[in-house]
């Protein structure tokens, strides 16, 4: 029973983190139909921006009200989205929407490489630490389970992010416009939808979600060059399991991977790496398009 509780709580925490770092990726694919390999760099820049923002907050006297550091984290992620979202979408990606998928993937890979070096130019190679927000909320002791309350904040943010994106897409007029663009870009344009603006807003939201993932992770790690590389791999596994472009799929995929990995670490540590890709392989055998993606007729 204790073991089961450990697996569920650990799986939920890891799954929540996975969802936050992958939901932006699936949103961008769903709307813009591009696989954004630069997502990992945007996550890393979010972590760096947060480290700088929280560091500046405490340097400017934030010790008097340390809870304000959480606001600094969100502001850091927002700044990344507001600056890089329009810059990348308007300045670069829109020129490649009509090109082959492979070309766009290569372009985003190029962006990934450039951003990795940009981070080194701005923040250097020395790691940054902003662990204050991680321990601010204290600990949670549930019987034999002993966690940092921040872990549950990550779960709360994941749930709120997922619900917000789902609510926007399914329960608002603007969201329905986005769904219309996802369904048929050309038809939406002929019906008067400003597709360019939809793309810009959705990509910027995707960048914000990636940066928010980095912002939430920054207090738990040393923020240093290369942290975005592994994230992109695991985020792709999650969105492929859930179905590319599906928010619900990303949530279920993240939960599957989180719990499977937690079970493996507790029961069969040797299979920790393998288990994630085993889950992916099993899902793809039965649902090649992912859990929540609908099979589409191929346009020829």
């Amino acid at each position: 029973m204790e073991l089961l509780a450990f697996i569920l709580v650990d799986g939920l925490i890891y799954g929540a983190w996975l969802f936050i770092v992958s939901v932006g990726l699936t949103l961008v694919f769903g709307v813009l139909n591009i696989l954004n390999l630069a997502h990992g760099s945007l996550y890393a820049i979010g972590a760096y921006a947060t480290a700088s923002a929280v560091g500046a907050y405490f340097a400017l006297g934030g010790d008097a009200f340390p809870m304000g550091s959480y606001l600094a984290m969100v502001i850091g992620a927002l700044l990344v989205a507001v600056v890089l979202g329009p810059l990348l979408e308007r300045g670069l990606l829109r020129h490649f929407y009509d090109r082959d998928h492979v070309i766009v993937v290569l372009v985003t890979y190029g962006v990934f490489l450039i951003l990795e070096d940009v981070m080194k130019l701005i923040w250097g190679v020395t790691p940054l630490f902003v662990s204050e927000p991680y321990s601010l909320l204290g600990n949670v002791e549930l019987g034999p389970l002993f966690y940092v309350a921040y872990d549950f904040l990550v779960i709360a943010v994941a749930i709120m992010s997922g619900l917000a994106v789902w609510f926007f897409l399914n329960r608002t007029r603007r969201g329905k416009v986005v769904l219309a663009v996802i369904h048929d870009r050309e038809m939406s344009q002929t019906m008067g939808v400003n597709v360019d603006r939809v793309f810009l807003v959705c990509f910027t939201v995707g960048v914000f979600l990636a940066a928010l993932g980095g912002a939430l992770t920054a207090p738990m790690i040393s923020v240093s060059p290369g942290i975005g590389v592994n994230v992109i791999i695991i985020a792709f596994a999650v969105v492929i399991i859930g179905g590319l472009g599906s928010i619900e799929g990303a949530a279920i995929g993240a939960l599957f991977v989180g719990i499977a990995r937690a079970a493996s670490v507790h029961l069969l540590p040797e299979a920790e790496l393998f288990i994630i890709y085993l889950v992916m392989a099993v899902v793809l055998v039965f649902r090649p398009e992912g859990l929540f993606s609908k099979t589409e007729a191929r346009k020829i």
Partner: protein
């Protein structure tokens, strides 16, 4: 006749003069002069995950030492002579990032295009296994300065390749010895190590050492997260649930920093005695976030553990490094220093034997084989691998935050002679451990 004799005498005199001039000229050409340079390729991680922990501090230390040597007279004897035997040292730094295939190409570039006289490099064990065959093929004198895998000279034999740092087996042997001598009660122990050669080998060495030194201790939990995982919440839960007396880890760099940041608030360090095989290098970054009471090694008598045994050489380098980089030197610069001082000793020994000319790769290899020299990390002896693999003393200590100075310190440091924690020549480390360290010479 007289004319012929005169002509003949004049001819002989001219010939002798010409020969003498030529000989002096050749002597001048052959003797290393102050304006001569000794080119070395310095290969280490300048980008990527291992840069900030190992590559960049090593390069900082190397650059600093090269500047001091080129200035001459700054380091104490026997290292006070300018450069290498009077020759100015010219270093060409190369980024080790990119994998073994890229590094082999970079190595060829250094040797064939840049015409370096020696290559000093390699942190990654993969690179250390890939480079030696190429070095021998090109007959290029090469020093492996950092990597830990024992396989380089336990499984291979190379004429032009030397490793000036001890391999990794001594790190975990020393940890087990330390726990025994400090009276740490170990009924059970667990491990968290990265899932690649370094982590797997470290855990295997530690388990083997514990089975000899503390045979009653048992282990159930061995975790191998992938390198650069960053998220250790689930692993920390597994370690807390296991509730082992000791948690062993050879994590390094950002992974170790993240593990400490995440495990600290969850109380792992209070529940278990944590022992970090190579953890000293994260102390400058973590500061007081590194808990007190953590057992720490530095892959040699390096960093904080070198300070209590400091010689004049250590002090000069330590102070200069601290002044220039606003932090104390950890293990990586110490390994770079011992490599460069070993190279200087070998160059000057070879020059003493060849009449003072810049030594060839063959002469350098002959001088380096079985060499002994003093470094800030103690006496380095090329005692293994038929004179190609170094052994060195080791040290293990326990962390303690000094609130007065605002600095992390190491207390209860124990020092181990090189021959105590390294196998004799011709014996594989794992076999030596399993046989109970036969022939170990401990104080």
């Amino acid at each position: 006749m007289i004319d012929r004799v005169r002509k003949s005498s004049a001819g002989r005199l001219t010939s002798r003069l010409l020969a003498a001039v030529a000989a002096v000229g050749m002597l001048g050409m052959g003797t290393a002069k102050a304006e001569d340079t000794f080119k070395i390729g310095v290969v280490t991680f300048l980008s990527g995950g291992a840069a900030e922990s190992f590559g960049v501090p090593a390069w900082h230390g190397g650059k600093l030492m090269i500047e001091m040597l080129n200035e001459g007279g700054i380091l104490p004897p026997p290292y006070d002579k300018k450069g290498f035997g009077g020759m100015t040292i010219e270093a060409i730094p190369v980024d080790e990032a990119g994998g073994a295939t890229k590094q082999v190409q970079e190595f060829r570039n250094l040797v064939q295009r840049e015409k370096v006289d020696a290559v000093v490099g390699y942190v990654s064990s993969g690179d250390c296994l890939a480079i030696p065959p190429v070095a021998d093929e090109l007959k290029a004198f090469t020093i492996l300065y950092d990597c830990g895998t024992p396989r380089v000279f336990e499984e291979g034999e190379y004429a032009y390749v030397f490793r000036t740092a001890a391999h990794a087996a001594m790190d975990n042997i020393s940890l087990a010895k330390y726990m025994k001598s400090r009276g740490v009660e170990v009924g059970t122990f667990a491990g968290i190590n990265q899932d690649y050669a370094w982590g797997q080998d470290s855990w295997a060495d530690f388990v083997a050492s514990m089975s000899v030194i503390m045979p009653d201790a048992t282990t159930d939990t061995a975790l191998f997260p992938k390198i650069f995982a960053g998220q250790y919440g689930t692993e920390i839960s597994a370690l807390i649930r296991d509730n082992a007396d000791v948690v062993h880890s050879s994590l390094w760099g950002g992974d170790l920093q993240a593990f400490v940041l995440q495990a600290g608030p969850r109380g792992l360090f209070e529940r278990s005695q944590v022992a970090l095989a190579a953890g000293d290098h994260v102390i400058p970054q973590l500061g007081n976030k590194m808990p007190d009471g953590v057992i720490i090694g530095a892959r040699g008598m390096n960093g904080l553990s070198a300070k209590p045994k400091a010689t004049e050489l250590t002090d000069v380098l330590w102070e200069a490094y601290e002044k220039e980089h606003d932090t104390f030197p950890v293990q990586a610069p110490f390994r770079m220093w011992q490599a460069l001082l070993g190279l200087k000793t070998a160059v000057e020994k070879a020059m003493a034997e060849n009449g003072g000319t810049k030594p060839t790769a063959e002469q350098l290899a002959a001088a380096m084989k079985g060499l002994e020299w003093e470094a800030p990390s103690g006496t380095i002896k090329m005692a293994l691998g038929n004179g190609h693999q170094a052994i060195q003393p080791n040290a293990i200590g326990t962390t303690k935050w000094d609130a007065e100075t605002g600095k992390m310190t190491l207390v209860d440091i124990e020092y181990y002679a090189a021959e105590c924690v390294n196998p004799p020549d011709g014996v594989k480390a794992v076999e030596w451990i399993k046989e109970g360290f036969p022939g170990a010479k401990c104080d």
